[in-house]
Symmetry: D3
Subunit: 289 residues, 6 copies
C-alpha cells in the first residue's frame, strides 16, 4: 500500500514507542491495576490470541501494539503476519500473540487503541494516495493532530504512503494568512524573514490569490501553499510558478475531488482530515485458547 514513489523507510524512534506505551498503560491501569483480570486469572496462566481486522485497510502501529503487551510480559510472543504499511483484508489476521493470559487481557485495549487509530490514518492516507496514482502529486499531512500524539499520527501517514509536512513550528517556515495580516502584508513578512533565514530551513508561503503568489515569488521561497483555490485557479498558479518553487494545494480536499486537484499539476496536496478526522480501522483480539 506504500506509494511506489516513496522509498522512505518506516522508522519510529524506540524511545517514543516506549514512553507512549508506558503512559498509555499508566492511563489505563491507574494505581489499582486491572481489577477484573487480576481477580479472575491466575498469575501463571498462558494463552494465545490473534489480532484480526474487521475491515480492509493498511496497517500501522505494530511496534506500539507489541510494546504494550511486552511491557506487561517481557516474554510475550508477537508474530506479525503483515508489516506496517502493508494491506490487510477484512477477516485477515494482523498478528498472533501468545504469553501470559493476564498480559493479553490487560494489554488488549491499549494495544488496539494504538493499532486501530494509526491503521485508520494509514488506510485513509492510502486511499488518497491511490486516488492520485500516476499523477505527480503527493499526499501530505498537516499539524492538525491530537495533542501529544503527533509523532505517531505523522508516522501513520508515512505508512499509508503519504509524506509529512512540518512536524512543528520549529522545523520549517510557513507564513500563513494570520502572519501576513499581523505583519502588515506579505512583502513585509517575507522581507523580515529572509534577512535572518537559516540556510537549512525551507520557507513556504500561503497565498490565496494569483496576485499574492506573484508577490511571494519575488522572494527566495521554497514552496507556495495555494489555499482554497478553485481547480481553475490552481492550474493558472502552477503555470505561473513554472517549476520555480514547489506548489501545494490545500483546503477542502476530499476523496472525491483530490484527483481533479492533482490533475492541475500541483506537487503536493495536503489533507487535514488525515489526522484530524480519521476513522479507526476496526480490529479486535480474537481468543484462541
Amino acid at each position: 500500500m506504500r506509494s511506489d514513489r516513496s522509498a522512505f523507510p518506516l522508522n519510529l524512534p524506540t524511545y517514543l514507542v516506549k514512553s507512549a506505551v508506558r503512559a498509555a498503560l499508566k492511563e489505563d491501569l491507574g494505581a489499582a491495576g486491572d481489577i477484573t483480570t487480576d481477580a479472575i486469572i491466575p498469575a501463571d496462566a498462558s494463552s494465545e490470541a490473534a489480532i484480526v481486522s474487521r475491515q480492509d485497510g493498511v496497517v500501522a502501529g505494530l511496534d506500539l501494539a507489541e510494546a504494550a503487551f511486552r511491557a506487561l510480559d517481557p516474554t510475550i510472543s508477537f508474530r506479525r503476519l503483515v508489516e506496517d504499511g502493508g494491506k490487510v483484508a477484512s477477516g485477515g489476521t494482523i498478528a498472533e500473540v501468545s504469553g501470559k493470559t493476564r498480559a493479553l487481557l490487560t494489554g488488549e485495549r491499549t494495544a488496539l487503541n494504538f493499532l486501530n487509530r494509526l491503521s485508520g490514518i494509514a488506510t485513509m492516507t492510502a486511499a488518497f494516495v491511490k486516488a492520485v496514482e500516476s499523477t505527480q502529486a503527493r499526499i501530505a499531512c498537516t499539524r492538525k493532530t491530537t495533542p501529544g500524539f503527533r509523532a505517531f499520527e505523522k508516522y501513520a501517514v508515512r505508512a499509508g504512503g503519504g509524506i509529512n509536512h512540518r512536524f512543528g513550528l520549529y522545523d520549517a517556515v510557513l507564513i500563513k494568512d494570520n502572519h501576513i495580516a499581523a505583519a502588515g502584508g506579505l512583502g513585509e513578512a517575507l522581507k523580515r524573514l529572509c534577512a535572518g533565514r537559516r540556510h537549512m530551513v525551507k520557507i513556504e508561503v500561503e497565498v490565496d490569490s494569483l496576485g499574492q503568489l506573484e508577490e511571494a515569488l519575488k522572494f527566495p521561497i521554497d514552496a507556495a501553499l495555494l489555499d482554497n483555490m478553485t481547480v481553475e485557479t490552481l492550474k493558472r498558479a502552477v503555470k505561473l510558478v513554472a517549476g520555480r518553487v514547489l506548489t501545494e494545494a490545500s483546503g477542502s480536499v476530499t476523496l472525491e475531488n483530490v484527483r481533479e486537484i492533482a490533475a492541475t499539476g500541483v506537487d503536493l496536496i495536503s489533507v487535514g482530515a488525515l489526522t484530524h478526522s480519521p476513522r479507526i480501522l476496526d480490529s479486535s483480539l480474537e481468543w484462541k485458547r
Copy 2:
C-alpha cells in the same frame, strides 16, 4: 446541548489542563520555537482575534484553548461567548482573544487542536443524546480513546450530554468475552471475582445471549452489557432482567439505529465511535487587527 437529565457539572482538574497544554506546546515548539513568528513579529506587538466556528455544534475544551494562549502570554484576554457544553452555530464566535501577537500566532494551532477535537466529540455525543431524547436511555462512551488523551475525550462526552463509562481498568469491573474464555466460563469468572470483591466497585458482565444473561444474573452483579444483540433480543433481555441490574446495549450503534435500540428499554447505550472515530468541529482563528 447538555442532556436535561444530567446535572453533573463539567469540571476538568487544573493539573490535567496545565500538563496537557505544556506537553502540546513542547510538541509544537521543540527546541527552536516558532521560527516563523519569531522572525516576522516584534516581541511587543499586540493583536485581537476571534475563534469562529465553521459548523453547527457543541463546544468543549475552552479551558485548554485558553491555557494554550495563556502559557505563551500570561496577560492574554480570553472572552468566552459560549461555555463548554453550549451550542455554537456555523459562523458563530466561540471566543475573542487579545494579547501579544506572537502568543496568538504561536498558540493558534495548539488551542484549536484541543478545541476542535473535543468539540467534535461533544457534537457527536449531543447528536446521539438528542436521538434518544424522551427515552430512558443514556449515551455512554468506552475505553476506545486516543492513548494519553482519554481524560479529555471523556470530558468532551460529558460536555455533549453523555455519561462516562469506566475511566480505565482500575475503577470498575467489566468481565468481557475474552475474560470468560480465559477463565473457562462465565460462572467460574464470576465466582472468582465475587470472592474478593471490593465493596465500592461495581461489576458489569458482557453477555452475548439470553442464556449467558441468565447465568450472570445468579451473581451479585450491577450491570449487564448486552453485546451485539438484535433489537428483538434486547427487548427480551430487558424483560428478563426486570430492573434487577442496569442494562447496557453495545455494538454497531449508529445515529440511525440508536433510537430503536433505546426503545427496547435498555438503560444505557455505549458508543465507541464517540471517541474512536469522531470528526472535528471545524473552527479557526479569525484575525481582527
Copy 3:
C-alpha cells in the same frame, strides 16, 4: 494470613514498581552515588545475604525489594522463602539475596524501607482481620495515606487480608460531613448527585445519626458510612438498613474494640490507622559472605 473470605489475588502493576524504585534510589543516591560503598568495595566483588525478620508478621513488598536490588545489578538472585501475604516469624528468613556486593550494600536500605513499611501495614491489617474472624465484617483502609505512596500502602492492606476502599476521589462517591454542610443538607447533596450519576460508580454517604441514615436511605445509594457511632447505635443502624445497602463502621476503631464493632453486624470496618500510623515490621539484611 490472607483472609479466607478473600480470593482477590495480589498484583501490583509493574510500572508502579519500577518507577517507585527508580525514584527511591535517586533519592538515596543523588548525584554522587553511594560514596561509602564505592570507596570500599571493588566493582566485581560478589556476596550473599539474607533478609531476616526480627518480629512476627505478615510480609508485603517483595516485588519492590527485589526490584531495588535488581536496578543496581540486573543479574542479582533473589530467592523468596515467603510470598507477599504470607507469615514470617521472628528470626525467620524472608528472602536470600546474592549478587554484586556493591548492589547489596547500596540497595539495602531502599529495599528494606519498602519491605518493612509495607509489611508493617500488612501485619497490622492481619491483626484486625484476625480479630474479626468468623464475623461477617471485613477490614478496609482509607485515603489517609502517605502522599505519593498510596498505591503501595493499599496493596499492603490487601496483603494483610483487608480490602481497599476508594483509591482516590475519582473512583467512587463518598459524601462526607463537610459535603453535607457545604451543600446545605444531606437531601440536597444527594439530589444533586443522583441527577448526573455515572452508572458504574458507587455512592456511599457518611451519616452520624439514625435520622440522617433514614434520610440517606431514601436515595439510591450503595453504602452507608456510620461515623463514630456507639456499638448500640451501630446495632440499630444495621437493623434499620436491613441489608438494603452495605454498612461501614468507622471512627476510633482499635484492636481492642474491633470485634465488638464487628458483632453489631456491619459489613465493613474502616481503619485509618492501618495506613496513617502503622509501625514497621523490623527486618534487616544479614550478611552471609
Copy 4:
C-alpha cells in the same frame, strides 16, 4: 518546641513543595477528578473552615498544606495560627482557610495527609528532645524513611528540634557492619576509604565493641556510631573517645531509656522510629460556613 540549642532555621525548597503537592493531588484526583464534590458543589461557591488539632503536638508541614489548597484555588486565604515548629494543644486551631468551596473539599485530605504525618514526626521528635533536655545529647534521625518522602520527613525532624543525619548515601560516609564484613575488616575498609577521601565529606564508623572503637580511632574519622551498646559500655566508649570524635548512640532507643543514654555523655542519639514508625498528629478540617 524547637530545641534551644538549635538556631537552624526551617526551610523547605519551594520546588520540593510544589512537585510533591502536584503529585499528591494527581494521586487523589486521577483523570476523573473529585466526582463527589464536582457533582454537589457549584463552581462559584465559597466557604470557610479551620484546621483543628485533636491532640497536643508540634506542627510541621504548613507550607505543603497551604500549597495543596492553593493549587486548586490560587486565591485561597490560608491564615496560620501557629508556625512549623510551634506547639498546638488539643482542640486548638492550626490554620483558618477560606476560598472556593470545591478547593476546600477537594484539597482537604491531601492537605491533612501532609500536615498530620509531618506533625506526627515533629511531635515525636520533640518528645525525645524534651526527654534529653539539659544534657549535651542531640536527637537525630536516620535513613529509615518512606521512599519518595524523605526530604519532608527530615524537615519534620528539624521542626521537632532534632537534627538531620545523612540525607542519603551521597552526602556523608557511614561505614556500617555489612561494609566491614564485605571489606574483610574495619581496618581494611578505612584504609581504602581514606586513600581517596573528599575533603568536604565527613566519615562515621559503626562499631559494636570497644575494641572495634579503638581500631577505628586510629583513622582520621569524624564520628563513631556506637551500635546497640549497653549504657555501661556507652560510658566507657565516651571515655575512650575523650572528645576526639563525635559519639552517636543508636539501637533500641525509646522515650523510656533515652535520658539514661544521654547521660552517658554521647553527643548524638539517633532514633529510627522518628521516621519509620511515627503516629500522625490527628487534625481535621472543621467547617465554618
Copy 5:
C-alpha cells in the same frame, strides 16, 4: 554585536527556560536545600546586588539568569543594563538584582552558570562573525553541544550573530562520510534519499573532494559541506558550484584562518568549537547592600 546581516530576533521558548531553571536549581539544592544560606540569613532579609562582567564580551542568557532568581523569589527585581546580543565591557554591569537576600545568595551560582556559559559562546561567535565582516560568509554552529543543553547553546550562537545549523537529526538531512561509507557510495545514498524526500526538508551532503562534489551536484541537493579542504580547493569548489547550492566550509576553522576561508566565497563556515570548547565570559554577583 549582532551581525548586521541578521534581523532574526532572539527568542527562547518560555517552557524551555522554566524547565531548565527548575532542573538546575534541583541539581544545586537537592533535598536539603541551601544549608549555608538558610542557617545564616533570616527569611525576610532583603538585599541588592549587581552582575558585573570581568571581561569584554557579548551577553546571552539573561532570561535564564532572571528566571533562576525569580523561581526562588517571585517578587525579585531584575533590571537589565544590556540585552542578550549586546556588548558588555570589562567592569560593566550587566544587570541589577534586588529582593530576598536568601534568593540572591541561593540563586547566584545557578544564574551565573547559565549567563557565563552562554555569554562565553556568544562572545566567541561574535569574534568569528567580526573576523568575516564584509564578506558574504556567515558563521554557523554544529551539533557538537553539551547533552541536554543544546537549545540554549544554539540560542547563544544566535545572540553572537551566528546562525544555527540543524537542531538535531530530525530537522534537516546531512549525509556525512560515515553515511556514504555505510551506503556504499555517495550516489547510492543520494538515490535512496531522494526517492522519499520530504518537500519541506533540506538536504546537505558532506564531500571531501571536488570529484565527490561533482557527483553530489547531479542530485537535487540544497547545500554542500566542504569538509577539511584547503583554501585553494575551497575556491575551486565554490567556482564549480557556481551558486547552484549553498556552500559550507568546515573543519579546523580558527579565528586566525576564518577570514581566509571566507574569502574563498563560501556561503557558510561552521565552527564546532563555538559549542564544544567555548570559554565562559566571567561575570560575578557583586554585593551592594
Copy 6:
C-alpha cells in the same frame, strides 16, 4: 592518569547514565528521528567502527558513550581498549563498536558529545594533577558547571585524578564573601551557623585576608578557602593555620602558576576552569565496514 594518592574508585550511578542518555537522544532525534540514516540505511544492516582519539588525553564517559549506542541497539558490541581514567594517545583507539548500522550512525554524535566533553575535563584535570605531583596539594573542582550536567562533569574530574568539592548547596557548608556581607560580618555568620550545625556536615569559610582567617579559626570550622591570595600570603596563611583546618587555595589558578601555589603548602587547589571552560578531547567514529 589517576593520581596515585587517590584510590577512590570511579562509579557513576546507573540511573544517571540511563536518564542522561535518554534525554540526549530525545534532544537529537525529536519526533521525526534520524531522517538521514532512516532514508539511506536498511534496518537490518550491520557495521563496525572505532572511536579514535585525535589527541593525547585521559578518557572519561565510556559508560555514557556505550549506553548511547545500546539504547538504539541493545545487542551492540562495545569493546573498550582503555577504561575511564586511562590514557589515550593521538591516533589511539578508545573503543571498538559493532552492531546495527543505523544505531552506529544515529548514536555517533550523542556518544561522542558525552565522551569528548568528559574526556576533555579529565585531560585538563590530569594536567593540573601532574603539575602538582609530589606536593601535598590536591586538585579540586567547583560548582561552576553546566546546568543539568554537573554529576558527569564532577565524575570526569575524578577520572582525571582530581577530587570533588561540594556537589551542591546541600552537602556541605561554604560561607562565601556575599554571605559574610549579607550577614554583617564573618563572626556573625559563623555564630548563627554553628548554633544549629549538623554533625555530619563540614564547614568551610572563604577568607581574603589573614585577619579574616584568624577570626574564622576561632570557630569550629573544617576548612578555610584562601581566596585570590598571593603566593606569599598563602604561605603565611598555611603557617597561621598550622594544620588545624584544611587549607584551599582558589582564584586565577593556571597550569603555569599551580605548582608555585602547591608549594605554599595548601592542602587543596580548586580550579573553576576544569568545568567552566574545558576544551573537548577530540575523538571521532572511524568507519571500518
